[in-house]
């Protein structure tokens, strides 16, 4: 694999003696979208603030393109573009002036580049208007535009879909995928909404109470959850249970008069055919996909916020 674009090394943060981030270790690679998933208060924003140099690290370090954020802030952070929490812009200036403001803070950003990012996020028509007249979605897009101005190799977006409608979310997903796939940008996206993460990320790190619980590649999770729950409405449930166990389905549950077994997609017709051959009356059969959501909830547990 390529060199990591960003590395978290035993990153810790303690605020007023309370440990908020308890030692995060992971690498993010060029061209991947890394999802940082966790319930509200898990510590996503705090971690991102440390990555961005807004908060000091209590312990550990963040290495960006080989440079330490702690020791070599300017050389590390020049590779980063981002939004932290809300896309706050200067409301009394136009979108264009906001971009001009940020373009002056980094060398070599031309008017053409500014126009390019405006076009990328589709704000051409409204860019001369004051930001105070923008909707949240437009501000979110302007936020992404300013983050991309200097062609960063790492893009950090904290809850970029917050407050967006489904169309807006789809659009953000499209930019993000495009940046990662076509320009090799390493994108870090945080969210507390799993379904969004599943759709845009290559890997998802789940954080709870300041600790990383697991990192899963999205393909993995799809395979692992490729088991379906088959709900069967039959009479003579005890007899049927016996057949099922005989055929290797050890884990048979009964719920509201339904028998529930866990099977792969291929097994569904086989099981039904075998039951019919045994003369079992099947009054109904439903298939439930166990989602990553269930898995997520399993992983973080109920009452995830301490």
């Amino acid at each position: 694999m390529a060199e990591p674009a960003m590395q978290l090394k035993n990153l810790k943060k303690t605020i007023k003696k309370k440990p908020i981030i308890k030692g995060l270790n992971f690498d993010i690679y060029p061209g991947e979208v890394f999802g940082f998933l966790g319930p509200n208060g898990a510590g996503k924003t705090t971690t991102i603030r440390m990555m961005a140099g807004l908060m000091k690290m209590t312990e550990g370090d963040v290495i960006i393109q080989g440079k330490s954020v702690k020791k070599d802030f300017k050389d590390a952070i020049r590779h980063v573009g981002g939004i932290v929490e809300n896309p706050e812009m200067y409301p009394f200036m136009s979108g264009w002036k906001n971009l001009l403001h940020y373009s002056r803070m980094m060398p070599g950003i031309s008017k053409e580049r500014m126009e390019e990012v405006v076009a990328l996020v589709g704000l051409e028509k409204r860019i001369k208007e004051k930001v105070s007249k923008y909707s949240l979605g437009m501000r979110q897009r302007l936020g992404i535009a300013q983050a991309l101005l200097h062609n960063p190799s790492i893009l950090i977006l904290d809850e970029p879909t917050n407050g967006l409608d489904p169309a807006g979310i789809r659009e953000v997903r499209r930019y993000i995928r495009q940046l990662a796939e076509h320009q090799g940008v390493a994108v870090i996206v945080s969210s507390h909404i799993l379904s969004e993460m599943e759709m845009m990320c290559d890997r998802i790190g789940i954080i709870k109470n300041g600790e990383l619980i697991t990192i899963q590649t999205v393909k993995d999770t799809v395979q692992q959850t490729d088991r379906n729950e088959l709900h069967l409405e039959v009479d003579e449930t005890e007899k049927v249970k016996g057949y099922l166990k005989e055929w290797g389905n050890e884990d048979v549950k009964t719920e509201n008069g339904y028998l529930i077994i866990s099977v792969t997609r291929e097994q569904i017709p086989v099981v039904i055919r075998q039951l019919v051959e045994k003369g079992v009356n099947i009054y109904g059969a439903n298939v439930h996909h166990s989602t990553l959501e269930d898995k997520f909830l399993d992983l973080i547990g109920e009452g995830a916020i301490e």
Partner: protein, 316 residues
Amino acid sequence: MSNFFQLVRNEQMKLYSQTATWVMYGILAVLVIGFAIVLKVNGDVNGGDYGGNWEKALQEENAQLEKQMKENEFAGDYATQQIALNEYRIEHDIAPGGYNIWDFVQENQSNAAIISLFTIIVAAGIIANEFKWGTIKLLLLRPISRTKILFSKYVSVLVYAITMLVFLLILAVICGAIFFGIEQSAQPYLYYQDGTVQEMPMIQLVSIKYFLGSVNLVMMASFAFMISAVFRNSSLAIGIAIFLMMAGNSIVMFFADYDWSKFILFANTDLTQHIIGTPMNEDLTLSFSVTVLLVYFVIFLTLAWAAFTKRDVANA
């Protein structure tokens, strides 16, 4: 360095994109023009007109003053100075002029207090507002050190203050010329110092007054800037700075009996006392005042710097 210049440009752009900034210029313009109209209409400005035989008039005035001095020992200081000034005029043939453009420009220096007020408001907001708006996060997420960003903001406050002073000066010159004319504007300014009468071109007096008058402005702006950086709250910074500015002289008076009162900031902010006047306390030399001011200045900026560069951006 060009980088720093761009940061200052940014700050100016943000400042002048806000309506409040233009309102400040509007208020200042109304004050200057209004003052000119009031003076003109009330006609106070002709008080210094002695008519054709000014020498005789001044001699009479001196005789009057000498009589007063004999009758009343407390009339001393003012009378001695006035007599000396009048005699100097007669000797050097410098007629006391009527009210003209320079008098108006000079009097308008008092509007520096208004500019101080506005500069305090700007200085108090320039850091605190970034926190209030939440824009501080994106501002600091750039390959630029916090120190540089802080000083670009400080320099921006000074640029704003200077721009306002220049605006005041130009407006006062224009209004002065229109309302009070430019006749006799070449006459020098006479003042009494160390027992003798001194002469100074009016334009020099105006420059000195405007320049030295800005010392107080710069100190109060630096103070507000520091509070803004430390507490990240503009209302607090405005409140404390304006209170101190208003109460400054009273504070000095209140503690005047103590020896350490000369170290109070406000005992030193009026540098004009050393140049065209007599300081209230003989320990207060020009170099002493400048040293005290520099110490305060360094303390303010160091505190602002420490607060801005060392602390987490946690709640913005």
